[in-house]
Amino acid sequence: MILSRRRFLGLAAAAVTTLPAAAAAAVADFGGRCRTSPGALAAGQWAMVIDSRRLARPERRAAVIAACHAFHNVPDLPGPRRVAWIEQHSFAETFPGLPSAFSPANLADRIFLTLCNHCRNPPCVRVCPTGATFRRQDGIVGMDSHRCIGCRYCMAACPFGARSFNFEDPRPAAVNPVYPLRERGVVEKCTFCAGRLSEGRLPLCVEAADGAIAFGDLADPASSVRSLLAENFAVRRNPGLGTEPGVYYIL
């Protein structure tokens, strides 16, 4: 049979593309053998209540931020390309539109700790093309740096400016060998210390804040966060956007 060149090329292309995929060898199901750690803390909806009155002193806030950044190998790159999992911002910056000309003086000068709010309806999770950021059943918005392609769509989508991108190779001053770094080209943010929660320990910022930050389960009526929210008026950042943030601030 005489084939025209065009038909030959077409058949060759079809043959290559329809080659059966390499049969996966009988691989042991390693993933199926993984379980939740027995000592892990579980919750229906993790949330945080930050009492800003008890974090008025700058050294206390700095200690909280240092505890987080040192453990998680967050590099110290001040300026427009900073990487920060937890930051400090003024009242007007944290709650745009909330302050008025007649707000109390101690509130106008208050500095707040801002971090990822682990929203219940997170726009960053909606827009991520690979699922590198995802919402867990217990409410934590996780971050998989292995899968992130660095498109930064989540940074455009986050209404709270909680996410940082590694514009260059992060080189923290001291590397904590127990926790991995990130490479250039991926997004990172607060993870509510998911690893520590699975070991039964609270997040580092909570421990360093010495009671100023409460962390608990909103679905549990007896939790610390529920009792604090019942007794104090607490606000969330930009609640009108409908993202349902999980970080509450007692003003």
Binding site: V127, I149, A156
Partner: protein
Amino acid sequence: MAARRLPFSRFSLWLLFLGCLSLPGAYFYLEQYRQGICLTGLSRDVPWGLYVAQFTFLVGVAASSVVFTLPAHFHQDQRFARLLLPAESLAIGAVFSACLFVFVDLGRPERLWNILLHPHPGSLIFWDMIALPGYLVLTSLLFWLRWNRQRHGIPPPPRTGGLLTLSIFWAFSIHTLTAFLYAGLPGRDFWFSAILAARFLASAFCSGPAILLLLALAGQRFFRLSPDPQALRALLRIITYTMGLTIFFFLLACFSVFYGQIPAQTASFAMLASSSSLPAWCLGTALVSFSLLACPAARAHPVLLPLSLVLVLVSIWLDKGYLFILGGFSRNPFGQAAFYAPSLPEACIALSIYACGALVVSIGLRLGSAEESGLRPEPGRGAASPGRERKGAAGEKFR
């Protein structure tokens, strides 16, 4: 003719020039891949800048092929049918460049396949990953089918009709998806507008035909081409009306912002307007170009017409290709003004990608300058290589 004979044709020299223009960008991109996106002017407050803006602009130019395919296919309008090959060349070059711009913007481009391996249909970038390469394949296929048969004087096969219909809907979709990238983000008030897709399409249907009309006028003036004057008149009409629509849609957005006076929206508008003089230039060139286009004497003028088209492109590029992206980030989530300026490596990479796109468009235009497009060079004029003379001689037989 023989006295000015060059070893290479002018077209080859043009391609070589474009190839050389792509080299600095390739070098700077390798540096950017090695060092990270820190080589650009992007920051934590402005995560998207020049690259994503060019992607937005070029997807619009790519989608504008529908201005030609829709009348030609649905209404058998022969004026547009003759311009189908050049329009599809422009679309192929534009979508190819748009894909390149997305690629160079990624922090970890080697993980691009994660979008397909772990699909998330809720993300617009997932749909863009499917729609843009699909549009590239579709338009290339249509170009090849039409060009191959035009070469031999045979009408296109019947199945091209189905592909053409698909490409019409696909072209609308790619630019609507691009608008959806921005229009669904709750925290970005500058972008959060239902009319965004309509604004994008209007400016796209203005910029694409404007590029093609400029190329046709340049061909008429410098390369002795003879495009169909009826087709050019129809194009000019479309450009005029869509430019008017673009300005009108912008004014609609201004009304909502400044009459509603919601601080978040007025602040982001105001921060963008005060960041540089570019917003004033954008609006100014838009109004001047529209005035020129609407004025019959200016439309017929040999200098004012190309000038008005250039101004159209300048204003739409300033809008979609720069200021629109910055507007979403000019006010960061903490209410502070954010600053962005492209760095030199960033600008070089962008220029080189444009050169690659121009290369693709040039090859397509050259291939497509066949009988029916009306852009066939008249034989015996300006021929600098034997190949050209032969083609000219063959062309004479069919005249």
